[in-house]
Amino acid sequence: MSKDETNEQEQKRIASLLKHSIAPVDGELKRDLWPQMLRRLDETSSSRSWFSVMFSTAALSSVPWFDWALLAALIIGVCVFPNTIPIWLYHF
């Protein structure tokens, strides 16, 4: 028996030992995650509405300064050219 064949047999043996030592994994989840998701949504919505979460102080303070600058530029642009508002509305 050559050295290559011995190595191949050894590898096969190790592969088979590994296969037997590790429990088979199911591709599908055994439990339904959707109720957990609903519970999480309920926890958030029961305490505060999405609107108040979106405009909370914590959410607003996490906005970086350059995004505020962009928003300001946008508002100034609309104020300087108010006749373009229908065109903006059309594109949304």
Binding site: E28, L29, D32, L33, W34, M37, R40, L41, T44, W50, M54, V63, D67, L70, L71, A73, L74, G77, N83, T84, I85, P86, I87, W88, L89, Y90, H91, F92
Partner: protein
Amino acid sequence: MNTHPYLRAYMAGITVPTMLLLVVLSGFLIARYTFHIPIPIERAIIFPMALVPNLFGVWNIFYLWLRPRRHLPIGFHGAILPFILAPAGLTLATCSGFLVATSSGLAWFHDVVIPYRFLAGAFCFALIAYYLVWKYLVGFFNEVLGIA
């Protein structure tokens, strides 16, 4: 179990333009009946009502699909959308007859003329608006629906 992430991405995507549709319609009505800008509402509303929300939904599905492959922040992903929406909107407006190219600029609704030299600036403003909307509004709804 399939939790339909693409369906949720579509729903999160269409939420913002669908909510804004009321603002758009109100704006058109005010412009027409208060400021007497001759907007053909029945033709002008087609684009923001039919095309924009669906494109937002599909674009958000694309964002979700793209995320494991080539991640781009959601704000920048949204800022690419005007490159598709602007030509589509301009084409539809031209076909509907309320956008005409004149020698001085683009005449919208036979009343508002945007000089050609301002078009690039206006497009930059559109990019900024879409960047902010996608980063903060669509991103928020993605979080709410558990696909952020």
